[in-house]
Structure formats: structure tokens, C-alpha cells
């Protein structure tokens, strides 16, 4: 192999220099940063581009599809098309229905595949190629956290979609990232009193948990609140995300002496595990002299639809439900229904609201500069977006609003009317210390690229 080196003669040298020359010729285009103060500054363009990064394949594809519908609706409303939806009820609002800061809103989409790697690649494409000024979406906390830190490094805003893990605005909070959706801590705080009044204080719980950041977070919060009211946790078993078949995890539950099964699953996982738990006859059993119960801490209508009859009578929490009767929810359900023919899910709701909140913040800040938007959103109080008066807390970029405790309806009147709202837990009952042990994190400084 030595002759590889010895053959470097004059001719090769020339060829080498030609290659280097080409590189040098190409590089000035890319090393010179533009004069803009921030990444993808749209000042000299007539439009502004938002990046919608949602799972189109994988365990959360249903949620992803609904999120995308909501984003498209939000873009229509921002550009002054359609009936305006929540823009008629959102207060205080600076938006004028002519785009954002006079620029037409356009968007680019991508598939996260519910994988951190793919989601980051897709977000990078949006930022580097399509010139997206804000990234939003994600239907998994693992993905949301990964994309949020990417956006922090790249210097764009990240408006989290459906992500429910405490860590998104806890340990892994970032200055450029914001979350409107609630989290597992709020689920625990909201759900526990309802469980207490329905199932009593002497229960033995068995957890099946999706093995990633959200599952761990959900399991931790439910344990924390149920154990505080006297329940005992018999066992907590981790299941891989997207397992499909849960029978091997459900069989041991019967012999464990537990009388409550907590399914810390979401999306298709929850549909499968709940259906199988019901098929195994868990809910017909009497254990320790009590009726065996199943709990699904995080519910969504899409999942209830997938699980069918299995959801009847099962308690859980949800961020928002289309049957809410406030003005904002009604306006949103109306315009979503008019466009797509069915009511929106909670994922669609949070994504729609996030897009409007971002646009409004840019309008109020008078700039698309991420640092200006951060300032405009921190501590922002608003109303009329469903869920009542809401605060974007400055300490951790988490929204505080009403949490819904829901139950699978026994006699649904339509294929969408599957959940009934048992209780609307007001924000002050679920608020927590942003710097408590489980939440301590560092926002860092805002990054404009």
C-alpha cells in the first residue's frame, strides 16, 4: 500500500489543488453570515415560514395527522381566511388577520417518525433549507425535548405541541422553548382527588409504563399523588414504546394482588394495552374484595375512538375536550368541524393555540427575533382559548390553565362523544413550584442564532 504515497507526483498535486480550489471557490457562499441579527430573518421577504414537525408515521401518527390539520387551520386564520376561529375570542390579542407583522404566513411540514433522530433531521431541514423561523409540533416528549434543545442551539423558537412529560419545562427547559400543554404533575394533582372519591384510599396499584421520558414522568407523578392518599404501588413495569402486544405484561397483573392497573401509555400503545386488559377480563375481577379498576392518566379522544368500548367508565385526564362550552372552544370546534367534518382532538387544540400564541407574541413584540418573542411570551396572561384564563409562567415557560378529569362515557351519543368531563380542575389547584426538586432546570439565555 506504500505506493499510494510515493505516487504523489506533480500531476496529482495539480489535481489536488484543483479540488481545493473548487472548495475554496464554494466556501465564501457559506462561511459568510448574513448581516441579519437573527437566524432566518424574514425582514426582506413578504412571507414568514413556520415549521410543522409532526409524527406522520409510528405510534403517534393519528395525533400527528390531527396536529397538522390544526396547524393548517391556524395558518388560514392568521392569514385572514376562513371564519377566524379562536381569533374572535382570544384576548388580549394584537393579531389583525393579515398574517403576522403584515407578512403572509406560510409553512413547511416534516415527519418526526416519533424518533428523536429523524425529528432533529427534519427540524434542521426546516431551519437550514426552508428558512423556518419557528418550529412547532411533536407528539412525544422524547422528541419534543430533543427538538427543543436543537432549536435552542440553532436560535429559533420552539412551540411544543403535544408533550406531557414534566421534563419538557422541568429539567430540560430552554429559553427558546414554550409549552401550552399540561404535564404529568398536573395530571396527578388533578386526577388524585377524583380517584380518592371514587375508589377510596386503600388500593393497590400496578403500573405499566411506556419506557421513555414521558412514561417515567407519568408514573412518578401518579405514584406521588396516589401514595400520598394512602394507595400502595405493588409494581411498576416498563414496556417498550410501540410494543403492540401487551399480553405478556398484563398476565402477571392478575397474580400480583393489585386491584388497580395504571396504564401510563399513550397513542396506539394505550389503545392496545387497554383493549387487551379489558379482553383479559381484568375489569370483571374482584380483588381484595374490591372491583378491579383500570386508570389511563392521559386520555385523548383519538385514543378513546381507537379503544372503542374498552374505555367505558375509565378515568383519566385530558388537556382539552371539544365538548367544552366556553366561547373559545366553541369557535374552534366550529371552524375545525366546518373544514374537516369532525371535532378536533386535544393535540389539535394545543397546536392551534400555540401557533396563535406565537403569532400574537411576534405581533406584540414587533419583531420575529426569538429574543423579542421570548420577552413577549414570558408571563403573558390570556383568555378565550379554551381552558379559561391562562398564564405563560416566566420561570419555566409552562402554561397554567384548567385541567380536565374525564371518564369514558357509558352511553356515547356519537362516535366522537366518547368522554365525559367529570371535573374541571382550576389552574390554582395544579400549580407547582418551578424550582422544586423534580422540576429544577436552567432556562439559559435566549439564543437568536
Amino acid at each position: 500500500m506504500g505506493d499510494f504515497i510515493s505516487k504523489v507526483n506533480r500531476r496529482t498535486l495539480l489535481k489536488g489543488s484543483a479540488a481545493l480550489g473548487a472548495a475554496a471557490f464554494a466556501s465564501p457562499y457559506f462561511f459568510t453570515k448574513s448581516a441579519s441579527a437573527y437566524v432566518n430573518d424574514p425582514s426582506n421577504k413578504s412571507s414568514v415560514i413556520l415549521g410543522f414537525n409532526v409524527p406522520q408515521t409510528g405510534a403517534y401518527a393519528d395525533e400527528g395527522a390531527d396536529e397538522l390539520r390544526a396547524y393548517q387551520l391556524a395558518v388560514e386564520h392568521l392569514n385572514g381566511e376562513g371564519d377566524g376561529g379562536m381569533m374572535n375570542t382570544f384576548k388580549p390579542m394584537a393579531l389583525k388577520g393579515n398574517g403576522v407583522l403584515g407578512k403572509k404566513v406560510e409553512f413547511t411540514t416534516g415527519d418526526t417518525q416519533t424518533k428523536s433522530d429523524a425529528a432533529r433531521a427534519s427540524a434542521k431541514r426546516m431551519i437550514e433549507k426552508d428558512g423556518a423561523i419557528m418550529i412547532t409540533g411533536g407528539s412525544s416528549s422524547g422528541v419534543a425535548i430533543a427538538v427543543q434543545s436543537l432549536c435552542q442551539e440553532a436560535g429559533v423558537i420552539f412551540m411544543a405541541g403535544l408533550t406531557h412529560s414534566n421534563d419538557t419545562t422541568g429539567k430540560d427547559r430552554r429559553r427558546n422553548g414554550f409549552r401550552h400543554f399540561f404535564n404529568t404533575e398536573m395530571t396527578g394533582a388533578g386526577l388524585a382527588p377524583v380517584l380518592k372519591s371514587n375508589y377510596g384510599t386503600e388500593r393497590k396499584a400496578y403500573h405499566l409504563t411506556a419506557d421513555y421520558t414521558w412514561g417515567w414522568s407519568q408514573e412518578g407523578s401518579i405514584k406521588k399523588y396516589t401514595e400520598a392518599m394512602g394507595w400502595e404501588t405493588v409494581n411498576a413495569v416498563r414496556t417498550p414504546l410501540g410494543a403492540g402486544d401487551f399480553s405478556q405484561y398484563i398476565t402477571p397483573v392478575l397474580n400480583s394482588g393489585a386491584d388497580v392497573l395504571v396504564l401510563n401509555h399513550y397513542g396506539k400503545d394505550m389503545v392496545n394495552s387497554l383493549t387487551q386488559a379489558v379482553q383479559f377480563g381484568l375489569r370483571d375481577k374482584m380483588v381484595n374484595g374490591k372491583q378491579f379498576e383500570v386508570i389511563v392518566p392521559l386520555y385523548s379522544r383519538l385514543m378513546a375512538q381507537g379503544a372503542g368500548d374498552a374505555v367505558k367508565g375509565i378515568f383519566g385526564s385530558t388537556g382539552w375536550h371539544w365538548s367544552l362550552q366556553d366561547e373559545g372552544s366553541k369557535a374552534f370546534v366550529k371552524s375545525f368541524g366546518a373544514k374537516y367534518g369532525f371535532p378536533p382532538s386535544q393535540a389539535a387544540h394545543t397546536c392551534y393555540v400555540q401557533t396563535l400564541l406565537y403569532a400574537d407574541a411576534a405581533e406584540r413584540a414587533g419583531t420575529f427575533n426569538p429574543c423579542g418573542i421570548v420577552d413577549a411570551l414570558e408571563g403573558f396572561e390570556f383568555d378565550g382559548m379554551g381552558n379559561g384564563p391562562t398564564l405563560y409562567r416566566a420561570d419555566d415557560h409552562q402554561c397554567f390553565k384548567t385541567v380536565l378529569v374525564v371518564k369514558g362515557k357509558e352511553n356515547p351519543s356519537s362516535q366522537f362523544d366518547l368522554l365525559e368531563v367529570v371535573e374541571e380542575v382550576p389552574a390554582e389547584k395544579v400549580i407547582y413550584d418551578p424550582n422544586g426538586d423534580e422540576f429544577k432546570g436552567d432556562l439559559g439565555a435566549c439564543n437568536a442564532g
Binding site: 496529482t12 479540488a19 473548487a22 464554494a26 457562499y29 428523536s116 431541514r125 426552508d130 421513555y212
Partner: protein, 387 residues
């Protein structure tokens, strides 16, 4: 000239490599019309080019089809991120340790798997890779951070980065202040791609490479003549594992995050597709295949009805709607479908992959313009590097 891509003598190697270097470095220019000239995708072209080149050393030369090559990619990634976490954000130590660890890993897996050949070898490697994936996904969560993925955190040790700790400096890999993102990141990967292609060329032309080709042609005959082929195949397996480790570490250099899904069997299958799509046993083929697949994954998956509307806006309204509805099946979340169709077409009509297509077109053009048979066809002294 086009035959250079498949058949070549030692003399033309350097010319080919120089040409390749020019093409790679000029990617930002000639990829622009395809909408692919943005750093992240070009980095991926280079990285998966290295991965596929390494895979081709095993598959193209010895004919051993490993169905678990993503395991080495993943091991390389995890090693690189751990090196970042422990030693600091300089990519050089991360790359070196990733290559070494992936090599050792390949040694162990290769030692066991290479006891069998053919389909049994493929199944063994697949089993090992799935084992690694499941270990990384759930069992070894403390080391790999499971589904969430392993990231570098502010409070990691990072021994040689000590001065920057606490300042909240961005956790991006860098050499001497140049951050390995964007174009610098691409050029870093591109240089390594060119070097690794050079190394692969030397292996293809060396006596060692000849021996590997002999293994592919007729291993039994080699055994009868008293040659012990195991050390050769094992060496090829380890080398290609090290290539994969390098690719894995580069993925973390440009984006310090390692996820278990990198090891999934779909990722192992992807590199097989890349190699076959581009042309097994050719130097350039696997790189073309890698670029094609990554292009599909990143560009086609991003098309939505809105973009299609834009593309077909020249058509009359009712026709446009139909065309958009049909094409939207093949883009967006249907990108796998169009990739599948392309793969079937290539395997059926061009068994030698894209490179065979290029060769045929080249010859056709030469004939068409009456240049006659190109002289290099007569030059049969140097053997073709595998089929």
C-alpha cells in the same frame, strides 16, 4: 472515462479520487437545483456514504451479507457521545474512541457470526443487532438513556472543556473554535469521506482485497487449496465495522445526540438498500445509493399538498386536483412507497445498481457519437471489482 467508476487500474485510482473530491466539495453548488444543498443533508450524504462504503467492503468484496451493521453505527454513536460527556466536545477523541470500540465490537460479533456463511451469517448478525438495539432501548437505560436518547448535558464532566463549564456555552462539537455545524461540519465529514473512500480503494486493489474477492467467488475451493479464509473475512468484518463506527461518531459530531433507533433492523436494512441501489462491489455505487435514500427521506417526505399545488399549478384546475391527489400518495408520509418502487425498478432492470445505469448511458453516448469502443474495455488485465 465513465468506466472508471467500475473498472479501473491502479493508475486511474488517484485521478478518480481527485475527481471524486472535486464532486464532493462542489456539492453545495451542483446540489442546489435539487433543493438538497443545505448543510444537514449534505452532512448526511457524507456520513452515510462512509457507512455504505464500509458495508461494501464486507458485502461487495466477500459477499457476506451482514444484516446487523447498524449495531456498529449505534455503538459508534454512543461511544462518541460518552467521549463528549467525559472528555469534552472535541470531535477527534470521540471519533478515535468510537472507531476503536466499534472495531472491538465487530471483532466479537464477527468472531461468532463468521462461523457460518450465507443466510445463517445474515441471521446471526441480525440477531446480534436486534439484541444491541433492545439493550440500548431498555436494558442499558442508565448508559444509553433509552428511547429519549443520550445527550450531552451542561453538568457533565467534560474534563478538557472545564473552563467553559457553567458559562452555558452551547454543547456543540468544535475544533479550535470552529463549530462542527453547518458548512464547516459538512467539510469535516466530506474530508473524512474522501479519505475513507481512498482507503477503500486501496483495500479493493490490494492483495488482501484480491483474497476477499476469492472468498466471494469460491470459498470452498480456497479452503481446499489450504487457505484459511476466516482471518480474511474477520478482518473485512472488523474494517467495515470500524467504518460504521466512524459514521456513527460523525452523526454525533454534527448533532450530539445518540438514539437507540439508529440500531434498529430498519437501519441495518437501509445500508443494504443503499449498497444494492448504488451498485454492489463498486467504489462509488454505495455512496450514490446512500445519497439517493437520504434524499428521498429528507426531501420527498417534506412534500405536502401545498407544495404539490405549487408544482402542478400550470395544469388546469380539475386535472391539477387529480394529479395532486395521486402524487401525494408517493410523497410526504408515502416517501417509503416511492423509494420501494425505485428499488424494485433498479433491482429488476439494473442489477448492478445506479452505477450500471451510468455505465450503460456512458457507453450509449460514446457509441452514438461514433467514438467507438472506449479503450479501457480492452484493458482486461485488471480484474473487475466484483459483480
Amino acid at each position: 472515462m465513465l468506466t472508471l467508476f467500475t473498472k479501473s487500474s491502479e493508475k486511474s485510482d488517484l485521478l478518480l479520487l481527485a475527481l471524486f473530491a472535486i464532486v464532493v466539495f462542489a456539492m453545495p453548488i451542483w446540489l442546489a437545483p435539487f433543493g438538497a444543498a443545505y448543510p444537514d443533508l449534505m452532512q448526511r450524504f457524507a456520513i452515510f456514504g462512509i457507512f455504505a462504503t464500509g458495508f461494501n467492503i464486507l458485502f461487495g468484496l466477500t459477499g457476506y451479507l451482514s444484516f446487523g451493521h447498524a449495531a456498529f453505527l449505534g455503538v459508534g454513536s454512543y461511544t462518541a457521545v460518552w467521549t463528549f460527556k467525559l472528555l469534552g466536545m472535541n470531535p477527534i477523541p470521540a471519533i478515535i474512541s468510537a472507531v476503536v470500540v466499534a472495531g472491538l465490537f465487530a471483532l466479537v460479533i464477527g468472531f461468532i457470526s463468521l462461523r457460518r456463511s450465507g443466510i445463517y451469517f445474515s441471521i446471526l448478525t441480525l440477531a446480534f443487532a436486534q439484541m444491541c438495539y433492545n439493550l440500548a432501548y431498555s436494558v442499558l437505560t442508565p448508559i444509553t438513556n433509552g428511547e429519549t436518547g443520550l445527550r450531552v448535558l451542561q453538568d457533565d464532566i467534560r474534563l478538557f472543556d472545564a473552563p467553559t463549564v457553567g458559562e452555558g456555552a452551547p454543547l456543540i462539537s468544535h475544533i479550535g473554535g470552529i463549530e462542527m455545524q453547518g458548512m464547516p461540519g459538512f467539510y469535516f465529514c466530506a474530508v473524512l469521506l474522501i479519505v475513507m473512500v481512498g482507503v477503500a480503494m486501496r483495500i479493493f486493489r490490494s492483495p488482501f482485497g484480491m483474497m476477499l474477492k476469492a472468498v466471494k467467488t469460491n470459498q470452498t475451493r480456497l479452503n481446499y487449496t489450504g487457505v484459511n479464509t476466516r482471518p480474511y473475512t474477520l478482518a473485512a468484518f472488523v474494517i467495515s465495522g470500524m467504518y460504521a463506527g466512524l459514521a456513527g461518531s460523525l452523526m454525533c459530531v454534527i448533532d450530539p445526540l445518540a438514539g437507540a433507533e439508529r440500531m434498529q433492523w430498519t437501519a441495518s436494512g437501509e445500508v443494504v438498500l443503499m449498497t444494492i441501489l448504488g451498485g454492489v462491489g463498486t467504489i462509488i455505487g454505495p455512496i450514490i445509493g446512500a445519497a439517493l435514500i437520504k434524499y428521498f427521506e429528507n426531501i420527498f417526505s417534506a412534500f405536502n399538498d401545498q407544495t404539490l399545488d405549487g408544482i402542478f399549478s400550470f395544469l388546469p384546475e380539475p386535472l391539477k386536483e387529480g394529479v395532486v391527489n395521486v402524487t401525494s400518495l408517493f410523497v410526504g408520509d408515502g416517501w417509503n412507497l416511492s423509494l420501494g418502487i425505485l428499488f424494485v425498478l433498479i433491482v429488476v432492470f439494473l442489477p448492478g445498481g445506479v452505477t450500471e445505469g451510468l455505465n450503460r448511458t456512458g457507453k450509449f453516448i460514446l457509441r452514438r457519437f461514433g467514438i467507438g469502443r472506449d479503450p479501457e474495455n480492452e484493458e482486461k488485465t485488471s480484474p473487475a471489482p466484483g459483480e
